[in-house]
């Protein structure tokens, strides 16, 4: 790890809804180190997706600054910068064009960013991307509707990889998947990060996934960053009642997990009573 790749400096984002200001994010200070998997967790309305949208340049901050490799991100991003920060969304059925074959969906980013020259090279690159995410070159000819949920999510990952990004925003990438499929996609994401030296901004509500995939985690509650730190430390020793309550609410399947959970539950009770 070598310094922050992305940093938020007192970033706020306010939306105007029905004539009222809604503070989606308030005074967020956060650094994402190069090469780490940084999880952003919180419940609905906590501002985690807004944070991802700011990283992607879909929204501009209302105040504060966002830096990428130390340089301020401009409000209007040049193409070269867009290429380096990519997105994988929750539902691949709505994020892939249903009328396009998989190959065509992968071709678009390659051409927009001028990453391939000529048909042969293009075909070769698409085949390579598909293999990299555990699919076969033949999948290029298929339509999204003929793939399973897990396969579609692999295509969405391949499309993000096509741009050769440095940072990928993963917005609930496995929440729509069954548990067996989820486990394999998580494994793929972990392998890709290592192989390609990627940085992940991993947005999720699922703390159990965070525990096993992320290096650090930042917990958001109603637009505020309540706690940030190394995953193992936060689970062993949550500093904030909200974090402890989140951990204490996770459904668990083993006795070891139940022990972690009840420790968090006791901690949450103590902190809530003290407050």
């Amino acid at each position: 790890m070598s310094g922050p790749i992305l940093s938020f400096e007192t970033v706020s984002k306010t939306f105007r809804v029905n004539g009222q200001d809604v503070h989606a994010l308030a005074d967020v200070d956060l650094s994402i180190e190069a090469g780490e998997c940084h999880a952003i967790v919180g419940e609905s309305g906590s501002g985690k997706t807004t944070l991802g949208n700011l990283a992607l340049g879909i929204h501009a901050p209302s105040s504060g600054a966002i830096r990428f490799e130390g340089a301020m991100l401009p409000a209007k991003r040049p193409l070269a910068l867009k290429r380096r920060i990519q997105l994988v969304q929750q539902n691949p059925l709505s994020s892939l064009n249903p009328k396009r074959r998989i190959g065509a969906s992968l071709r678009l980013p390659l051409e927009v960013h001028g990453l391939v020259h000529g048909r042969a090279q293009r075909r070769e690159r698409i085949a390579k991307l598909l293999v990299e995410v555990g699919l076969e070159p033949g999948h290029a000819e298929r339509a999204p509707s003929s793939l399973s949920g897990g396969q579609r999510q692999r295509v969405a990952i391949a499309r993000a990889l096509a741009c050769e990004p440095d940072l990928i925003v993963l917005d609930e990438p496995t929440s729509a998947l069954d548990v067996l499929v989820q486990a394999r996609v998580l494994r793929l994401l972990a392998d890709l990060r290592q192989r390609r030296g990627l940085t992940y901004l991993f947005i999720t509500h699922d703390l159990a996934v965070v525990r096993n995939l992320a290096d650090r985690v930042s917990v958001f509650e109603r637009g505020r960053l309540v706690e940030s730190g190394r995953v193992a430390e936060i689970f062993a020793n949550p500093q904030h009642a909200y974090t402890a309550r989140l951990i204490a609410s996770i459904p668990v399947v083993t006795d070891d997990e139940a022990a972690v959970r009840s420790a968090a539950s006791e901690r949450a009770d103590t902190m809530e009573n003290a407050a």
Partner: protein
Amino acid sequence: MTAPLLQIADLRLAFDSWRGPVEVLHGIALNIRRGEKVALVGESGSGKSVTARIIAGLLQYQRGTRVSGHVAFDGKDLLGLSERAFRDLRGTAMSMVFQDPTSALNPVFTIADQFREVLGRAHKDISRAEARRRAAEALDHVLIHEPERVLASYPFQLSGGMNQRVLIAMALANQPALLLADEPGTALDVTVQDRTLHLMADLIEEVGSAVLFISHNLGVVREFADRVYVIYRGRIVEHAGTDALFHDPRHPYTRALLAAVPKISGEGLPDTLIETSDAFDAPAVIHDGCEEPPLPSGMAA
């Protein structure tokens, strides 16, 4: 031992398609005794929700469905029942809670109106005032502290967690013998889900209903069920007491499912995993003491 409240034997379901009938349930056997909490757990497409819909009589009257086997409820053969007779059963002896609370409620009526309809199913000439009093009481049971405000609201004015609590209160208001809970809480945030499920468990305890708890979430099942059926591709693959299932899972599919769940004790991601395997087609494992009781007389195949 008394006969179970609900007993299913050799339940098969097929949907008509242009290639002929496609069977999706291949002979399900399942029983629930009075006051017992039983879970049916499986992934999407395993057949858990259609099983619940058949028990509730919400599927078999649709065109293109073929249902066979035995579903005995409180001594009655449900598969022989007319659609009309089912309507009298639902909301009184049997009720349901579904996953998405907001779409399960009618958007153009207030909670009070919808509550009165539910209560009216069990008490034909209940007065407006009496219905409102009972509704407020029912809401109080699920820790809704301002019942009057909630009763005057439309579903869209309430949060998802609040709507789910309203539905749970409604489902249990007539003290049904059986509650069918299909992924309750799945659409909610984790802290709200946890709180809602605990409230539901407490209320079930108080009312004494039996529950068929349908879920894909093994953690939730571990917490709330007495017994568990694991369903895979339209077949029950394992049936055990909850403790036995989580400490001693025996079917390859159950083991794979449990291994695939990310653990908060931080074991890391499981290394080698299979999505589907021939091993999953292994014969069902029925733990000791979990054998299906014989069908009530007169209903044997």
